[in-house]
Amino acid sequence: MTINNLLTYLDHRPETIMPASGDGRTFSALSKENFPAILIDGTLTSQNLIAEDSQGMLTLSEYAKFLRDMRLKKTGLLIADLQSGFGNPLNTYYAAKELERSGGDILLLNDQTYPAHTTTEPMTTTPEELIGKLRAAKDSLENPATQIWIKLEGLHSYGIEGLIKRIQYLAKAGADAIVIDHYDNQQLLQLTQVGLPLPLLATWEPGIDQIDGITGWLDKGYLSTVIQRAQSQAINFIKQGGLAYAEK
């Protein structure tokens, strides 16, 4: 599937869920299904490559190497996880350059402090630093088609009003879209009723109500959760077999 601008594609298919992957086998399975885009998620990649549950444990070079391997297997667009820029705006400049050269078509920058954590209420950075990171990422890009999406994760600390203000700043600074994370349905509904200057996407997991007014949905790792559940069952099955043998 050749898509030049994912946001334009999503305009006509707002129910689209873009799946997340952090391992080659899942990525390969998803690629065969012709999803318009796949997110190479930092947390899932961290779990796969270094057996750590927090995205911030994974370094840029480790992540970028995996991204390069996956780009050779891609059939749609790649959403690369720029995390919180792997440092300050200067680090973000070089990180964004690296991820674009490693095959990222869309770079997803979050507003956490560095290092980013995989948690429901992460610590977020100031609007000034986030804008600095966005500008740095924009300045580093070589391909005019590459987009920067900003994932805002701090509703718990800056609230709806703070979030709207951030979106206004980010629009002025050149962001292509906003992704909301760690929200409840009421907050999401409220945001869809405000005239925002940027396309609004939201993270998705089973149970989320896909309401109107959201441009698209970014999976948080549903496949990985299902795989882990099946793996736990299989491990228990093997353990039981071992116990039965010992009892004999």
Partner: protein
């Protein structure tokens, strides 16, 4: 035009220009930046130098695809001149060739060569080389051509048969490799200027590469003379590695003898000059350009 495409086109244009391309093998990104700043037209990320700099090992097939690819990628990202890649034997069978081509093309190499040695290979100027039957590299070249996504990602054939079966056999093999689709021809380790001439006579219209290795099998020949002989690329595969090793060895000897590096200082670049060369001022300026104050004034007012 994006850098990868620009570099492929630039390299192809230079190679096809009728003039010789001066290509330096550089052990790492810093050496590549130095070569580029001193007028090299292209850089070659090659096995002898990578084995030495990455593993401190000889070029004997110990350095694998992953190490070579990563080193080549670092070099490509550090310079704005074309970078050609040494893909050794392609690191396995035809499936490996496909992966090798896809990766080198994706990181932005201008092209790559694959050779007909038996793996684990040896540097072309070492004794004891063995070559595969000609059909093996023929098939690899066809697979490489089929795998590349851009016609201007150039595939060079390399034969090491001169040392094993003589020059006529090396030329005959290269004709087969050319027929299989090789864009460029490299016959490794000819032993005289007469042999260099004979290679050109066999391939009057195909771009050829000459390898100028110090203490190697081929006489060191001036670039201008190689151009007159009909060669299109001259590569210096070991010079920077040997110069680096000599300089570092002498430095450590001096330090051990004197207890200080003072006596060696005239052979070093200075602190300010080095920082300037690697762009410290530019990095600092970029860092400052994203200050909170500037962001607030520009985007939050």
């Amino acid at each position: 035009m994006l850098k990868n495409e620009r570099m492929r086109r630039q390299f192809k244009d230079e190679v096809m220009s009728g003039h010789i391309v001066r290509m330096m093998v550089t052990p790492d990104a810093l050496a590549a930046k130095i070569a580029a700043s001193e007028g090299a037209q292209a850089v070659f990320s090659a096995g002898y130098a990578t084995s030495a700099s990455a593993l401190a090992m000889p070029d004997r097939g110990i350095t694998d695809f992953g190490i070579s690819l990563e080193r080549c990628r670092q070099i490509i990202n550090a310079v704005d001149i074309p970078v050609f890649a040494d893909a050794d034997t392609g690191y396995g069978d035809l499936d490996n060739i496909k992966r090798t081509v896809e990766n080198y093309e994706a990181i932005g190499a201008a092209g790559m060569f694959i050779e007909d040695q038996v793996w684990p290979k040896r540097c072309g100027h070492m004794d004891g080389k063995k070559v595969e039957p000609v059909e093996v590299l023929e098939a690899k070249i066809k697979a490489a051509k089929a795998a590349r996504k851009h016609d201007n990602f150039l595939i060079m054939s390399r034969t090491d048969a001169r040392a094993v079966y003589g020059l006529d056999n090396a030329i005959a093999r290269s004709k087969r490799y050319q027929a299989a689709g090789a864009d460029l021809i490299f016959i490794e380790a000819p032993q005289s200027v007469a042999e260099l001439k004979k290679i050109h006579e066999a391939f009057p219209k195909t771009p050829l590469m000459a390898n100028m290795i110090e203490d190697g099998k081929t006489p060191l020949t001036r670039t201008e003379d190689l151009e007159r002989l009909g060669f299109n690329i001259v590569v210096h595969p070991t010079a920077m590695t040997y110069a680096q090793a000599f300089a570092e060895k002498t430095l450590i000897e001096t330090l051990r003898r004197d207890g200080t590096t003072k006596a060696y200082k005239n052979h070093m670049i200075t602190f300010p000059k080095f920082n300037e060369f690697v762009g410290l001022d530019k990095v600092n300026a970029r860092d400052a350009s994203y200050s909170p104050e500037k962001m607030r004034a520009e985007y939050m007012s």
